[in-house]
Symmetry: C2
Subunit: 146 residues, 2 copies
């Protein structure tokens, strides 16, 4: 693997940058060609979910403005909302200091979680229990047309 170019931004001043085409070609995708991507609601700043992206899904997301992940379990592109109708529109894409994680600032329609809850991080560790903090916005059976 060649140089991970994004590290050149470590000592760059605010406003400075690098060509995206060069950066994306040098990102440290894992052995499956994937990077983890955290989706955050752009206005409320709620962390909605974490999923995975490959280079093609990153490029599609930037091109279309609709978030497309790579589904590891199904082994195919996962255009968020394609079965549930609950799409994620991209507001901004960010990368961390070593380019091994993406942060997607999104505008999420309805629930992001397959359980029908707004976000996936509804399990809170409280003392010796893991407690659910919220109810579904939409019944998951309705969400997936069962």
């Amino acid at each position: 693997m060649g140089e991970n170019l994004i590290k050149r931004n470590e000592r760059a001043a605010a406003g400075e940058g690098l060509p995206w085409e060069d950066v994306v070609a040098s990102l440290p995708f894992n052995e499956r060609g994937l990077l983890p991507a955290v989706a955050q609601q752009f206005d409320t700043r709620e962390v909605l979910m974490m999923a995975w992206m490959n280079r093609e899904s990153i490029e599609e997301t930037l091109r279309t403005g609709r978030v497309c992940y790579w589904s590891r379990s199904r082994g195919k592109f996962w255009r968020k909302g394609e079965s549930s109708g609950q799409v994620q529109n991209l507001k901004e894409m960010r990368l961390d200091c070593d380019g091994d994680t993406l942060l997607l600032m999104v505008d999420q329609t309805g629930p992001a979680c397959h359980t029908g809850r707004r976000g996936c991080f509804y399990n809170v560790v409280k003392a010796d229990r893991v407690v659910v903090d919220s109810e579904p916005l939409i019944d998951p059976d309705e969400l997936y047309g069962k």
Copy 2:
């Protein structure tokens, strides 16, 4: 691998839960025994960084209230702030719907990023560039006593 118990919370009502000891023993750690953990500043809701935790680092973090990751590059525990002094105090630990990602609500002292910036996600994709959005709070040479 046995049943991933946290999935039983999918259809639980708010306030219901499961015993933590049973859940943590059944979490779907990856082939290296790790789960990704997203750290979010509890009050401003800024996403600060993403790192990895194993079962022991999760349990230490809950016990001490100071965030301890597992460093994949160094192959050892990484008690955040041990060399920089910039610690993360845990406010709340959350798990997602399928228990394969942690969300740590933290109170971060100073910069979370090794570059001296507040958070690691300072690289913004803008048109055909990846642009740095912020300056370090502290010079990284000072942070690590070089």
